[in-house]
């Protein structure tokens, strides 16, 4: 069953939903990256909650005009308008009052959401028969999704993606270094508006699938996960898109296998699983890579100190050092150096003495800054320089 879902064998509708969710994930991951890099990830939380009054008002208006209340593009338009209003409110509160952005975000999201709930209760009474289904916008639902709706979502995701491609350079500049961007002649307010506008567009697109409470996860988790894999902003955008797409695909596919598996939460949990994976195994910034690096460093320090001790004719007692040296064939179990160990120890000792001279000579100040007790001098100086240094190297013990 799961395999069927993952290979898109569960019928036409499930396939459409899965592909739509994937497209949505790609768009959301890529868009969210700019917000995350600009340290404004949580603004999307305000945007998503602020869609609720618009959805309900859109529904009421369409019913009042005698139409079908659940017409998705109409609801999306309403959502976009009220989310835009919420976004303006956040901006206005932060620029025109002393409140910080976090307070403005929290205020807007709770008030808009609360007002949306009020409207929701109005609808529930007003029109008991046709309102069923509006609640699905809270947590998303794909069961019984129509072909046109899935297509709308996929198209929305694709459109956002195209705009992201177009606006990448200004948005990344503004996210990283607003002052430099202004120096480059960019209109900060406009780029900001574009960035937030894209986040808004992807939020509205994703309402039906993921729901307004959780859509923010698709904008935050993939970029945070992607950041582990690369130090280059352009790559992070692409990787975040891939992670978001994968999450959308996996979540929607798994959810299609059983009726009581809600799509939105599954997509979010898939994204979270990918995040945990990235946190652990990503090279460079990942936890495993970092601990491997730390262990290697520890070993180098222990080995070096052991060699220096041997070179000074002292026995090695420290257990980890002894074990490392025995494994490298440099010492015997009782801590006495082997033939190879003595040779290595002499080299280490010479290296250390050269460093000492270098560090006491102001002429080598720049090179001395690279002293860390580990780097062999050969990596810092040329052969000629070392030869010059060696002329100052008196007989052992004279220093």
């Amino acid at each position: 069953m799961l395999w069927d879902a993952l290979t898109l064998q569960l019928g036409y509708n499930a396939t459409l939903v899965t592909l739509g969710a994937m497209m949505l994930g790609v768009g959301a991951g890529a868009t969210g990256t700019y917000l995350y890099l600009g340290k404004r990830a949580l603004v999307s939380d305000a945007i998503s909650h602020a869609t609720l009054p618009g959805v309900v008002l859109g529904f009421m208006l369409m019913v009042a005009l005698g139409g079908e209340g659940r017409f998705l593009p109409g609801l999306m338009l309403g959502a976009a308008l009220s989310a835009g209003l919420g976004l303006l409110a956040v901006t206005w509160l932060t620029t025109h009052t002393r409140l910080h952005e976090d307070a403005a975000i929290g205020a807007v999201l709770s008030v808009f959401f609360g007002f949306g709930v009020v409207l929701l209760t109005v609808v529930q009474v007003m029109d008991a028969g046709r309102q069923a289904g509006l609640e699905t916008f809270l947590l998303g639902a794909t069961a019984g999704m129509l072909r046109d709706e899935a297509l709308t979502i996929a198209l929305g995701g694709a459109a956002v993606l195209a705009l992201v491609r177009l606006l990448h350079r200004p948005m990344i500049l503004v996210a990283f270094d607003p002052e430099y961007a202004v120096g480059q002649g960019m209109r900060l307010a406009r780029v900001d508006l574009a960035m937030m506008g894209l986040a808004l567009a992807i939020t509205v697109t994703g309402l039906k699938v993921v729901g307004l409470v959780l859509i923010v996860a698709l904008l935050i988790i993939p970029p945070v996960a992607a950041r582990f894999w690369s130090e280059r902003a352009g790559n992070v955008v692409v990787i975040a898109g891939i992670i978001g797409g994968l999450a959308g695909y996996l979540g929607a596919a798994v959810s299609a296998t059983a009726p009581d598996l809600p799509t939105g939460p599954l997509i979010v949990l898939a994204a979270f699983a990918l995040f945990v994976l990235s946190l652990l195994v990503a090279p460079g910034r990942g936890v495993l890579a970092a601990s491997v690096r730390h262990m290697r460093f520890q070993r180098r320090v222990h080995l070096r100190q052991g060699l220096l001790a041997l070179g000074a004719g002292q026995p090695v007692y420290e257990p980890l050092t002894l074990r490392l040296m025995r494994r490298a064939g440099l010492a015997r179990a009782d801590g006495v150096a082997t033939e190879a160990g003595r040779a290595m120890a002499a080299r280490a000792r010479l290296d250390e003495r050269r460093w000492q001279i270098l560090r006491s000579d102001p002429a080598f100040e720049a090179a001395a800054a690279r002293y860390d007790g580990l780097t062999p001098l050969e990596e810092v100086l040329t052969g000629d320089q070392i030869a010059a240094l060696d002329r100052g190297l008196g007989p052992e013990g004279a220093v």
């Binding site: 009052t97 929290g106 008030v111 709930v117 988790i221 945070v224």
Partner: protein, 316 residues
């Protein structure tokens, strides 16, 4: 009228006020410390805890569910901190990752439990059911002195009142250290105040308020009351003591006005069904914030940058 009011409206009103004030009090400090969104995060992460508490005991009992909520809040704090440290991620994003994932887990658990025959719905968790906390034994104002009738008070009232008292006591007792740690953490540390523990204690108190209020009135009120009344109050005055007082006034006003508007507003407009009281309370608090942002005497910071908290006297 009197009898209807006591039976149907008095207890929800009191519970609403207690919940609003209990959230607004710690909210003042969270706001100044730029941790305003912690209320939002807490109210999301408690969901899996509540569902787990329900699944373990198999019944809708408050004790285990609140224990579950507290445990979930604790897990969330640890997770956020771990992710922030291990991944070197900024706190806002770390919070976003954790609270959305935990909320998603909660919803999934909920749907699974709903499928197994017992029910507990997401809507209830989101916007509570303030209107249902009625006092069936409240036959009139006389019932307030009648022990038999008082025994029939909804348990949420006692719980919320106790939490409010606890929160108020906490803020009052630790007022000076809190003020110092909030405005000048370095100075507070130099004075020997354990600022890290104080910060954790604040979050813990906020969590207690949030969990209790969440149980009684749903998460919208929690998030709105943590932020809106303190934020409005912040635009009214430069002095912290007055800010806290204003926030209590605003929270009470939101609860009363919101409840009344939700219950009677539609009647005045000619509809015969009430709307969600929780939603209306949040809406009113937003209107108050809007008014404060437009006309509040201290709506703009003295420096004009809106950055640093200003205090006219060092410590009140």
């Amino acid at each position: 009228m009197g009898q209807d009011f006591v039976m149907l409206s008095l207890t929800p009103l009191l519970i609403g006020i207690a919940a609003a004030v209990a959230c607004a009090l710690p909210g003042n400090f969270l706001l100044l410390r730029r941790q305003a969104l912690i209320g939002d995060a807490i109210s999301h992460v408690v969901l899996p805890g509540i569902v787990a508490g329900f699944l373990v005991t198999g019944m809708v009992a408050t004790g285990p569910m609140m224990l579950g909520a507290a445990a979930a809040a604790l897990v969330a704090v640890i997770l956020i901190e771990t992710i922030r440290r291990l991944g070197r991620i900024e706190p806002g994003a770390a919070m976003g990752v954790v609270f959305t994932a935990m909320f998603a887990g909660g919803v999934l658990l909920l749907e699974q439990s709903a499928a197994s025959g017992v029910h507990l719905d997401v809507q209830h968790a989101l916007y509570g059911n303030l209107e249902s906390l009625i006092w069936l034994d409240g036959y009139g104002w006389g019932a307030l002195t009648d022990p038999a009738a008082l025994a029939g008070l909804p348990p949420e009232l006692g719980r919320m009142g106790a939490v409010l008292a606890f929160t108020a006591l906490f803020v009052a007792l630790l007022w000076r250290p809190f003020v110092m740690a909030t405005f000048d953490e370095g100075f507070a540390r130099a004075m020997g105040i354990p600022t890290a523990i104080l910060g954790l204690a604040l979050v813990a108190v906020a969590a207690v308020s949030a969990v209790a209020a969440f149980d009684a009135v749903g998460s919208i009120i929690v998030i709105a009351m943590f932020i809106c009344p303190p934020a409005s109050a912040r635009l009214m005055t430069d002095r912290l003591g007055r800010q806290v007082a204003w926030s209590v006034v605003f929270a009470t006003l939101s609860a009363v006005l919101g409840y009344v508007l939700a219950g009677y507003g539609p009647l005045w407009l000619g509809y015969d069904n009430a709307v969600s009281a929780a939603g209306m309370i949040a809406t009113v608090s937003g209107v108050i914030l809007g008014a404060a942002a437009l006309w509040g005497p201290q709506r703009q910071s003295v420096s004009g940058a809106g950055a640093t908290p200003q205090l006219s006297s060092p410590v009140e």
